[in-house]
């Protein structure tokens, strides 16, 4: 399955592990949150990058002690209109997490820009829409009123632009 990142298609090089079962000795691995909790000792010792798949009923704070060691967090959209992962994504970014933040599940072009703005940088997009549709969808709005969002180069925060000499609220580097 292709992933969308920085407006291009990339392939998923991560190994997705289940709740239990053998882990490969090498390679980057993504585990479910319950497994991260259970096997933290051995997982943190392992070679290769570590990622976690969080549920949208899990709390972002529960991940705080693991964050420095994590290189990928996957958040699910069981349905495109289940918006919990937007808040969790933003919380993780506010907690200082700078690794990959991937949206999976019912990810559609019409929500792509909102997801980018809260800090997602990688998208499990399936094969229904051509790349051009996703590329267009990522920049439909050139402006946002809210502050403290993740921005692409072309997008401006209106309030910040209106008051350029005021102290910034929260520095947010570009995701990805």
């Amino acid at each position: 399955m292709p992933l969308l990142k920085n407006n291009t298609l990339i392939s998923d090089t991560w190994i997705h592990a289940g709740v239990d079962g053998e882990l490969p000795n090498a390679g980057d691995v993504i585990v479910p949150f319950v497994r991260l909790l259970k096997e933290w000792e051995s997982l943190s010792q392992r070679d290769g990058k570590l990622g976690v798949e969080l549920g949208n009923v899990d709390r972002a704070e529960a991940l705080s002690m693991f964050l420095p060691r994590l290189s990928a967090v996957i958040l699910p959209f069981p349905a495109f209109n289940d918006g919990r992962a937007y808040s969790i994504a933003r919380q993780l970014r506010e907690m200082g997490y700078r690794g990959e933040l991937r949206a999976t599940g019912n990810v559609l072009p019409d929500q792509l820009q909102l997801m980018l703005q809260v800090g997602f940088d990688t998208f499990d997009i399936g094969e229904r829409f051509p790349l051009s549709t996703w590329q267009q969808a990522s920049k439909q709005m050139s402006l946002a009123y809210q502050r403290g969002l993740f921005r692409r180069g072309s997008e401006a925060e209106i309030w910040t632009e209106r008051h350029t000499d005021a102290e910034p609220w929260l520095e947010q580097p570009h995701a990805g």
Partner: protein
């Protein structure tokens, strides 16, 4: 009034283009109706019983004459020559074609209006006191905060897919005309002993199937903290609000199930965690916005207007209208004019394009170019010289807009009901019309005095029947419409939810039942005692006896 700058214009333009693209894809079949639905809803477009309905946002209910004329133009060009003003201070067009919608949005953008977030599970158009900036009892004009919240909530990336819709109301006056206690979030301004102002934050009020009065989570929040604090509330709701059952998904249920204290501690914890170090930008933005709402250049006038007093003596009809339809203005020699959109036997909130243009002309000539839509579905001219009132009344009379029933039995709030709405279980409009006709006699209405009758055509309660002094709820019983009556509701500062009186009535019996209730009230009231006060004193018993004794 607020004016768009280049950013606001660009934002609405982007959004309209985005919608044009989405509507094209839907018309070409590239989007399924299921996928298109949330996209059109976020742009105010509903599919109703007979056609698409477009709901246009009127932020905090404020309109200029130019905007009102454009609403009339849209009604003529793309609808059937009229519009329906709603209980959320918006306007709805009931006969819209999908292929015209993007053009209508362009026409709205020309006059700095849009239909963003008038539907969908997002933060809806912010409402406020329809007398804002004019009322004698006001601490400060709440509309700058209303505009700040409009901007902040527009396409908020984190809060566009909430568990359910979300409504915020703001009032700057102690007499609550914005029903802040029955909104998802209500904000009420207070002034402390030192003269500083702060906002009381009320969360978890609401009507619908489970009516609740909101709880106060902050007594006195400094203004510059509003955005940060509301983000914390929204985040707690977005994360923990129920999504398993749409009837339990509003924030009131979360507040209720967690308990007010636990909910509050979640919000405070989230607020403390957010890195909102500096609020300088919000403060500056609020100041920038507030400058647009500077009070108009009112003349220094005597309190007493000879022309007004004389006209009242000459014309009893004018005197009666003046007695019922004027509100106290903060400046001497001025009044607030409430134009009733409730003619006897009419459809509450409907206005023809001609009527809209008459009101626009009057606002331009007599009221600093400003109009307001009230949540009771009336129109307000906020700053009118008492000297001009007679001329205004004459013009209103010529346009069938001079109903002298503001705040009385004929000033009924009603949802569109089964005549238009796909959710309704019963009709509202004919019930409203039958009651309105029953009390068409003006002396009778005056005798009854202040009264709020609210009618909803289903338990979703868009007609706010729970907070009507008399509430009427239309239901369906085995294919027959019948109507439940509640008494004692109020959306004012002493908010309360009405109590169901007993078994329901058939549609043709409702007006008689209301008459029985009001006759009972007239017999038992004390001198000058309004209906609600009398009900609160005596309780439901005498009304029940009168209604059901002979049944």
């Amino acid at each position: 009034m607020y004016r768009y700058d280049e950013f606001d214009h660009q934002f609405v333009r982007d959004r309209t283009n985005q919608f044009r693209n989405q509507a094209d894809r839907r018309l070409k079949g590239e989007l399924t109706e299921e996928e298109f639905r949330p996209l059109r809803l976020m742009n105010g477009l509903y599919l109703q019983l007979h056609a698409y309905m477009l709901r246009v946002a009127i932020p905090y209910g404020t309109l200029s004459s130019r905007q009102m004329r454009q609403l009339a133009f849209i009604a003529d060009k793309w609808d059937k020559g009229y519009g329906h003003f709603t209980t959320r201070q918006n306007i709805q067009y009931n006969w819209i074609k999908l292929e015209d919608t993007a053009d209508i949005l362009d026409a709205l953008a020309e006059v700095e209006m849009h239909a963003i977030q008038t539907s969908g599970n997002c933060i809806r158009n912010v409402t406020t006191d329809h007398w804002a900036g004019a009322a004698a009892d006001e601490i400060a004009d709440p509309r700058p905060v209303g505009e700040l919240l409009r901007q902040w909530s527009s396409l908020h990336p984190e809060f566009s897919y909430l568990p359910r819709k979300f409504k915020i109301a703001v009032t700057g006056a102690p007499n609550d005309r914005a029903a802040v206690k029955v909104h998802d979030i209500g904000l009420r301004l207070h002034k402390n002993a030192e003269g500083a102002v702060g906002w009381e934050v009320i969360v978890g009020g609401g009507l619908g199937r489970t009516p609740m009065v909101g709880v106060t989570v902050r007594d006195f929040l400094p203004e510059h903290e509003l955005i940060g604090y509301l983000e914390a509330i929204m985040r707690v709701y977005n994360l923990y609000g129920r999504r398993d059952n749409k009837y339990k998904a509003r924030i009131k249920i979360l507040v209720h199930e967690l308990g007010a204290e636990k909910f509050k501690s979640e919000v405070e914890a989230e607020y403390a965690r957010r890195p909102h170090a500096s609020t300088e930008v919000e403060e500056r933005e609020l100041k920038r916005i507030a400058a647009y709402f500077a009070a108009p250049q009112l003349e220094k006038l005597p309190r007493w207007s000879a022309a007004f007093e004389e006209a009242k003596l000459k014309s009893p009809d004018f005197a009666r209208w003046a007695k019922n339809n004027l509100g106290p203005h903060h400046a001497d020699g001025y009044a607030i004019v409430n134009i009733s959109l409730k003619p006897d036997g009419g459809i509450p909130g409907d206005a023809t394009s001609d009527q809209m243009r008459v009101m626009a002309d009057l606002a331009e000539r007599y009221s600093f170019d400003e109009l307001r839509v009230s949540h009771a579905q009336n129109i307000v001219l906020p700053h009118v010289k008492k000297d001009d009132l007679f001329a205004i009344w004459q013009a209103l009379q010529g346009a069938d807009l001079a109903a002298a029933n503001y705040g009385l039995a004929g000033d009924i709030i009603a949802c569109p009901g089964l005549d238009y709405c796909a959710l309704a279980t019963a009709r509202s409009i004919p019930i409203s019309q039958s009651i309105s006709r029953k009390f068409a006699n003006s002396a009778r209405q005056d005798e009854i005095g202040k009264l709020k009758i609210n009618i909803s055509g289903c338990i979703n309660a868009c007609g706010h029947h729970h907070v009507g002094h008399i509430g009427i709820l239309g239901l369906d019983k085995k294919g027959e419409e019948y109507y439940q009556i509640t008494l004692g509701g109020s959306s004012a500062e002493n908010a309360s939810i009405g109590t169901i009186l007993g078994p329901g009535f058939a549609g043709h019996e409702v007006a008689d039942a209301i008459e029985t209730i009001l006759d009972t009230y007239l017999k038992l009231r004390e001198p000058d005692e309004e209906f609600l006060a009398a009900y609160r004193r005596v309780g439901p018993k005498p009304f029940k006896e009168a209604l059901y004794a002979t049944a």
